[in-house]
């Protein structure tokens, strides 16, 4: 596994929930800007976690510990970032498992890794109807929506969500990313989604590409 000399990055990679708060507070006391702590310490650490997960060098329990560690750090920084000009365009992603499907493992993993990559994630949970995705995208001014489904039967409900967005004048340009065991690139193309991600790290990469 890749290691880092930066103690905060190391805390993120190793999932040291108990030490990260002190490390972040130390940097704040040294008057380091919150945005810099996020960009130069936390996000690079989580990027390493994503890469290691992709290469099967880290596994779900470790990724969950890293994400929890990241969450502790972000909770400290969030109120400070609110006043930071650079944080005003903080990138928001809506995520949920489509209607009829109660599976959330894959969706949660994508959420965890998106949060880890510094995105603001609004998780609508499971069994989410198309209308709820529209409402959330509108309410949070999100330009990206991620849809998950585990079942062949429910993946067809993704089509309804995509259709609802495309027929909505204000939201028709929303980028829609789909994922889940039965989903393929061909299926994504056939329903008019903007992309398909076979794994959680791939979903993060796609979302990053959409924002860039």
């Amino acid at each position: 596994m890749t290691t880092a000399s930066d103690p905060i990055q190391q805390a993120i990679i190793l999932g040291n929930v108990n030490s990260v708060a002190e490390l972040v507070n130390n940097l704040l006391n040294q008057e380091q800007a919150p945005q810099s702590i996020l960009d130069d310490h936390l996000l690079p650490g989580m990027a390493v976690v994503g890469d290691c997960f992709k290469r099967n060098e880290m596994f779900l329990p470790q990724v969950l510990m890293s994400a929890q560690t990241m969450q502790v750090a972000i909770d400290i920084l969030r109120p400070l970032l609110m006043g930071d000009a650079m944080a005003k365009d903080r990138r928001t992603v809506i995520i949920g498992t489509v209607k009829g499907d109660m599976h959330d493992i894959g969706k949660n993993l994508v959420r965890i890794m998106l949060v880890g990559a510094g995105f603001e994630v609004i998780d609508l949970g499971v069994n989410v109807p198309a209308q709820r995705f529209l409402e959330a995208a509108s309410q949070h001014q999100a330009s990206i929506v991620c849809l998950s489904a585990l079942l062949s039967s429910t993946m067809n409900n993704m089509r309804e969500v995509v259709k609802a967005f495309r027929e909505n004048e204000k939201l028709k340009t929303t980028k829609i990313l789909i994922g889940g065991a039965p989903v393929s690139r061909e299926f994504s193309d056939s329903i008019g989604a903007d992309g398909y991600a076979p794994t959680a790290p791939a979903a993060v990469e796609k979302v990053q590409i959409f924002f860039n």
Partner: protein, 351 residues
């Protein structure tokens, strides 16, 4: 040759004039059975046995999955969001089934590692063996008694994320937890064997399509030794052991062989579990079962299903050691004509 003999021939690495075929667990959901049986579908008393027997006769299946059954679930209330019944299962966790959706955990058996350490599995004395016995006595199907072990059941009762985190945060508690679940399931395996099971199927999902949920090293140190003990106890009776796990298991196949697994079921092509390839490497030690993608059954055509099934049989049947099945449960999203095509192709006589 009866279905039972077909499967035993495959387990004995004998080639027969056709490959055995059948599904694990319930195999087919009630809605697909209804679609396939049409007017023959029964309701009311004894309909489960009658419908499941008829569907296997109609398709020419060789296998039935059966369970020793626990006491009925206890209804404990109504879910605040969905309005559906909340029920507590045999193990003590509470679930609900929202409309048009699968069962969802509401209240885990423990909220902290300390609670989990205190948790004791319930007694299995009140389990009923008669369903397993009936399949054995009234049919010529291969009776595959289904139960669990410690991993899949472990996260179902705790919640997936909590379970995964505690493997790091409370490893000794989790080892004890695995042991408790495995000991209880071993008791169920013994009951199933007494009831007439031809084999035991351990349902234990260990992997995603991209690899194992947890580090294989963790499985080797903290889980497989306990699983191996369970399997060795079962095999003392001379009964073969099947393992069902979704996902890409290639990193742990040698470990599963070491644990004593005889048959590996699911082998989802979407998870790179291609049976002809796996057989080349592990065919001496393992029988493989599965490999027909349910998405093909859902979205393909009968012509595509026949082509895929024929190719798979051609590439996987040499020397026995292969049982055909879907890689997951056959539900109503599968087209009935595709299910019929898969089974009919398996019954084509081979030279």
């Amino acid at each position: 040759m009866t279905g039972r003999k077909q499967v035993f021939s495959a387990l004995d690495r004998k080639e027969t004039t056709r490959v055995p075929i059948g599904e694990i667990g319930g195999g087919y959901t009630e809605d697909i059975i209804k679609l396939l049986l049409g007017d023959e579908y029964m309701t009311g008393h004894d309909s489960y046995f009658q419908n499941h027997n008829k569907i296997r006769q109609l398709l020419g299946a060789d296998i039935v999955g059966a369970r020793v059954t626990g006491p009925p679930v206890e209804i404990t209330g109504t879910h605040k969001d969905w309005g559906t019944a909340v029920f507590r299962d045999f193990w003590g966790a509470s679930f609900t089934q929202p409309p048009e959706a699968t069962v969802q955990l509401v209240d885990p058996i423990a909220g902290t590692p300390e609670e989990l350490e205190r948790w004791m599995p319930p007694n299995v004395d009140q389990f009923d063996k008669t369903k397993v016995t009936r399949w054995k006595e009234k049919t010529e199907l291969f009776v595959l008694a289904t139960l669990n072990a410690g991993f899949d059941l472990g996260y179902e009762l705790l919640g997936f994320e909590r379970f995964m985190m505690w493997t790091i945060q409370a490893p000794q508690v989790m080892r004890n937890y695995f042991d408790k679940l495995i000991q209880t399931n071993l008791s169920l395996a013994r009951m199933s064997i007494e009831a007439g099971a031809d084999a035991i199927l351990i349902a234990d999902d260990l992997a995603f399509n991209t690899g194992t949920f947890v580090d294989p090293a963790y499985l080797r140190s903290d889980y497989f030794p306990l699983l191996k003990k369970m399997i060795m106890e079962i095999k003392k009776t001379g009964i073969p052991v099947f393992l069902h796990s979704d996902g890409d298991l290639r990193a742990i196949i040698p470990d599963l062989i070491d644990c004593g697994i005889d048959v590996l079921q699911s082998c989802d092509p979407n998870a790179n579990m291609h049976i002809p390839t796996l057989k080349k490497e592990y065919g001496k030690d393992l029988v493989f079962m599965g490999n027909i993608d349910v998405d093909l059954l859902a979205n393909g055509t009968p012509v595509e299903v026949i082509k895929t099934t024929r190719e798979l049989i051609k590439d996987a049947r040499q020397g026995g050691g292969f049982i055909l099945s879907a890689s997951n449960v056959i539900a109503s999203y599968c087209k009935p004509e595709n299910v019929r095509a898969m089974y009919a192709t398996a019954h084509e006589e081979l030279s």
